[in-house]
Amino acid sequence: MRWAEKMRMRLQMLMHRGREAKRLEAELQDHLEHQIAENLAAGMGAEEARQAALRSFGNPTLLREQARESWSWNWMEALVRDARIGTRTLLRTPGFALTAILVMALGIGANVALFTLVRSVLLRPLPFENQNQLVEVFEARSDGSYQDNIVAGGSFARWREQSKSFSSLAIKKWIEYDLAGAGNQLPEVVGAEMASWNMLPLLGVKPALGRFFTAAEDQPGANATVVLTWGLWKRRYGGDPGIVGRTVLIDAKAYTVVGILPAWFRWPDAKVQLWTPLYHERSPKLMQMFDAHNFDVVGRLRPGVTIAQAGGELNAVQREIRREHPNGPVSDAVNLRPLVDAETYEVKTGLYALLGATLCLLLIACLNIANLLVARAASRSKETAIRTALGGSRIRLIREQVTESTLLSCASGLLGLVFADGLVRWLISTREDIPRADAIHMDGVVMLFALAAIAGCGLLAGLIPALTSRDTKVLTALQEQGRSHSGGRGRARLRQTLLALEVGLTVVLLIGAGLLLRSYQQLRSVNMGFATHNVLTMRMNLPKGSYSTDAQRVSFFEQLLERVRAVPGIAGAGLTTNIPGEGRDWDDVFTIHEHPPLPQGQVLDALTRFVDPGYFAAMEIPVLEGQGLDASDRLSAADAVVVNQELVKEDFPNEDPIGRHIDGDVNFPGKSLRIVGVVGNTRDDLAHDPWPVIYYPLYSGQRGVSLVVRTRGPAAMFALPVQKVIASLDRNLPVAHVLTMEQVIGESTVDARFDATLLLAFAVLSLLLAMVGLFGVLSFLVAQRTTEIGVRIALGSPRDRIVRLMLGDGLRPALWGLVLGLAASVGVTRLITSLLFGTQPLDPMVFVVVSVTLLLVAAVACLLPAWRASRLDPIVALRSE
């Protein structure tokens, strides 16, 4: 009751403030008239009565103020008043206001954008129920040599059988299918996941339409079934619900559509367009092997079971598997990661480094603005002193200062949000490797972060100058203003401290950026060992349906190469199962026929490539010994292989490899293939030394190949002519990933380039800010010491001495900052070690270059004010008093 009454009162005071003020006025007037009437009744004259009444009434303004103070919302009125004063002050110096707003908007915007990314990618849970129970399981080695190997089918089967920690364990593998055209739709290659039937239920997904796979459908002999994603269903089948139960052609075979995934489901990423049952798609033999590592395993922990417990249990199972299979690449340990973590640990360090950098940038921006405000406070110290003398409270003055900086930060925040939105869009479009990029957007939490950033900036930038203004000694301030020769030494020292901090932060950023840039440069200058310029690549999969025999496929390959090589402007063409530079994507174990058996537990391992005879010439990979593959190595007659230098170095030291035989049981069971030649090394991962490679004859029959074409002139120009050639051979054959070799390699360096460029951009920005700060402080110092300098010159001090004096004043904070920054960098750069390539955290070159750059920039920033000081006309300087 009472509470409601109070609320009603408050609301009234808020909504009808103007009316209440008028009423107060009327009330007081009424009182006055009563008094006059009483005075008249007591026998006074009209004028006398009025005067006496007014006299007894006292100061009406004060009375009004006192009455108003008892109203609620008075604090808000004060706030509005402060804001109005602040806006007016800022509008009086639009240049300053605009600079400050822009600088802070950049800082806030960059921070909000990076935070959005970090939150969406690293912090926000997956859209699955009880997602903290979800883990990804990897094979690992107990000696720690690798932690995140993909899993063999046999190991998974054993885990599922023996482990009790999981309520469900599921397995999947990425694949590309040809989706045949219905009607006049073009055939296309779609990304897909083959998964055990329990994968989707394990995640807690419910079908939007139809159902998911049954256990019976996840068997080798079952009818072929498929689940479509929402996107594919809408795009390709027009969202027709009748598609459920009908068949679609996948790799030229009929698959029955059993269900549609909900629209929100985009896991592992948006490239996955359909799902098939894994055990139907892959041979039972593969699913029982312990040494063929192919799959991703996801598990849901039973309630109450920790990752460590589950890991301990699976480790024991895997150790036992290794004991049973001491030969071959069989792992002896496992590694469990939370599912969110497993997807993001590769981009984590980079993103956190960038977020750290933006925080530094924001801090620098704030310090800069604080610095500018200190300068303004200094130029207004006379006003402040007078107000203090008249009884203005210190709190009130601080409040005004903070209100002013908060106004600035609010405006910056608005602008910064616009900027952040653009930045987020740009980041997403540039970084395709960011997991779940489609889930990135600014939400309530991001807005809270933005608000916190705005409030923090306003407080920081406002409190520093406000708290350090020592205007309690009013008299000194007033006197100091009278003579401008030594004024505000305290303020100058404060500004120099702020500046040293700013420079220090800048140095840290510059060094971080320098290290990343150097890594990127090292990556780019690596000799790949094959033609990278003017090379076009594209991928195709010969469908099992229309190319059922090896002979059919080989004849297609031969015709294709013949026709492509005949296209004018094409210098060479070849076919390979794996494009170099794409990373370590296919490796197998082998033995050397002539060598004695290896000790137990050791295996030889090499990347597996199937190439056509013209491939080495097309890619300009030199044949160093022996010869390349021959067109006669075809079909069942294929019995020659070519190896690379690295394999010779590792496995044939002091021995001629030519004529030795490779037993490659995985791809050619029971067959020994003769080594006919040795070719140069190629780098398949930029950041890794070349791996050993075995090149097998493609004409033994393969389905999925990449065409590589070396061209005379820009490679991209040849994409269409080559595709036309393919269409002339088989117009239903879809072609995918048409890329130049630069793009292929570029994709693997995009992280490094991205992190380096962005960090560099931040560093340059902060260098600019620091430069502006230095310039501002020194100009301020010069202006303050005009008289002193005038006196010095008048007394005969040489001009270059004045320059030196002023330069020293300006460079001192820069030097302090440099020392501070270098010291901090030694600690901070350790954190980004994992992002570096071909350089160490304490790369002396980077440290030297950064120091020199910083000193040069600082000198340039200080030179102009110092020079201006030396040009002072002493007469003018002294007269300006």
Binding site: K6, L24, E27, H34, F57, G58, L63, A67, W71
Partner: protein
């Protein structure tokens, strides 16, 4: 004499609440009534009266209504609310206890 400053802290509130308890009154009348009843001992100054009235109103102990006063002007008539009545009882009890205690001390000395 009898300046509000000399009144015990919070006494003005009690006086106002007590004065408006029988019937709604405007500011001038409240001041006059207090003066009359106290035989001109207590003179409430405008400088204290109006801030106090507004404070009591914000607290929800009295409620203001606009009506025509005897001068023919629109004036604010203050009336006691239910919460105000309770407050008045409390403060009266307090006051009685306090003044009785003071009497005892004075008589005993």
């Amino acid at each position: 004499m009898g300046k509000p400053n000399d009144l015990v802290q919070g006494t003005l509130d009690l006086l106002i609440l007590r004065t408006v308890a029988p019937e709604p009154m405007h500011g001038w009348a409240i001041a006059k009534r207090i003066q009359q009843i106290s035989h001109e001992v207590l003179q409430v100054q405008q400088g204290s009266l109006y801030p106090a009235l507004h404070r009591l109103e914000q607290q929800g102990w009295i409620r203001a209504k606009w009506a025509e006063s005897e001068t023919g002007r629109q004036a604010k008539f203050y009336a006691l609310t239910a919460a105000g009545k309770k407050q008045l009882e409390e403060e009266t009890a307090n006051w009685n206890r306090l003044s009785a205690a003071i009497d005892l001390v004075i008589a005993g000395a």
